[in-house]
Assembly symmetry: C2
DNA sequence: AAAAACCGTCAACCGCGTTGGCATAAGCTG
DNA sequence: CAGCTTATGCCAACGCGGTTGACGGTTTTT
């Protein structure tokens, strides 16, 4: 077997698939994303991806070194979708807020893919462009390079961390998701005020907040802190 | 096959294993944690866990309904380790900070387990006790119930989100980890100032910060915000 | 027109989680 | 101590997973 995958740019397509499909790296990634969305994290397997594309599973190894390589390609597609069409307005605070919310939203639109990829560094085009954009916002706002890097790191980590956390509960297999919610009703909401006074006192409030993301609040705090740095510097 | 797993409390042990080992739920969880630590996330399988315990893999299904159930047990053990020996000092800010750092640290000590469990609700004893403790800190600090719940949610989500994010990069299989770092040297650090001025200008600073967690900073921001709420209320 | 490269397919390997049936030892009853 | 029940460990098997090596047809190159 060939050890190397031919890079997409050098690829001269040869044979259509038995079912008549002509494959592309892009087509494979899009199909993988769709399968993740429709059938959940467990629903994406090399074999099923092959079936969905009308190709033998082993064909995919001509395009990706393995599942990890495919994962990175999915990661970059996700961030690409988040930033598609974005333009800087010049208002650093509004820009940063929008980039954060775009990423958070894009990830929540594909929770299964988000869980899979939120913590990876793909080094592909879309990821690099996004980092460049964020640093550009901070530096042209007037932050020194060390401050820009500090805020950049807090910003991107906060955003990805919340995206991953919020996506994770959306991406749970239906059974686990139901189980987690059932735990709430069956366990937390039933605790005695004697043994667990604080949970018992706040149970209704806890339930009401359970499905909201704390990301916007946390992002606001970060922006406040960055603004303070800017004024002090 | 029996549909039900006998609860640990009702269990009257009968047979030692072929290798002479007498199993316990606790022993299984501890062994699973150790295997995760030593052989990574992929290294923990039902079959290997069986071997490590000196028991047939199928025996584990007498103790857990399946891998998901085992995962929840691991989750609770992790939070239990984080909080072991903790006592409230009465200074709400110091207490909250310590609880956050304890959880973050405990998770980073078992990154593979953390990635597996950070987003699950186990409803088991240690998890409930921790939530009760956090709410207790906030309410006895003087926050109203709605404020306490708001801060509680931001606090626990922030902590778990960062724990998961920071753990994830520690937990990457060695190959992927090396690949991610290589991406940095090979890609980010080599970008031309012409096409990527902001990354090029800050590359050394980015590299220097790459391995630090932004959690303590973010936690500080959250505590500041909570203190402001307290004074305003 | 011949040679080379590409790339889809086939068959196979091994490891995975899980299950049903079976054997046996532990505990209970007397 | 004898016999019954039942918990629990073990075995064999199932279907599915990722991955690989050999093969062969098709396109591109020379």
């Amino acid at each position: 077997m060939a050890k190397k995958v031919v890079p997409e740019t050098d690829r001269r397509r040869r044979k259509p698939t038995k079912q008549g499909v002509v494959l592309t790296e892009e087509m494979i990634v899009q199909t993988a994303l769709r399968m993740l969305h429709e059938h959940g994290r467990e629903g994406l397997t090399v074999r099923r991806l092959g079936v969905a594309l009308g190709a033998d599973p082993s064909t995919l190894y001509r395009y990706f070194r393995g599942t990890d390589d495919l994962t990175l390609a999915i990661a970059d597609e996700l961030i690409g979708r988040a930033m598609r069409g974005w333009r800087a307005s010049g208002d650093w605070r509004a820009d940063l807020r929008e980039v954060g919310l775009r990423i958070h939203t894009a990830y929540l639109n594909h929770p299964e893919a988000a869980v899979l990829t939120a913590n990876r560094v793909s080094g592909r085009a879309n990821e690099i462009a996004t980092d460049e954009a964020i640093l550009g916002i901070l530096r042209s706002a007037g932050l020194s390079d060390p401050d820009a890097v500090r805020v950049y790191q807090a910003f991107i980590d906060l955003t990805l961390a919340f995206a991953a956390l919020d996506a994770a509960s959306l991406a749970l297999p239906e059974a686990a998701r139901a189980a987690d919610e059932e735990v709430w009703r069956a366990t937390y909401a039933q605790l005695s005020p004697e043994t667990h006074p604080n949970i018992a006192a706040t149970a209704p409030l806890l339930v009401a907040r359970m499905n909201d993301s704390a990301y916007p609040t946390a992002l606001g705090m970060l922006l406040d802190s960055a603004a303070a740095t800017l004024e002090a510097g």
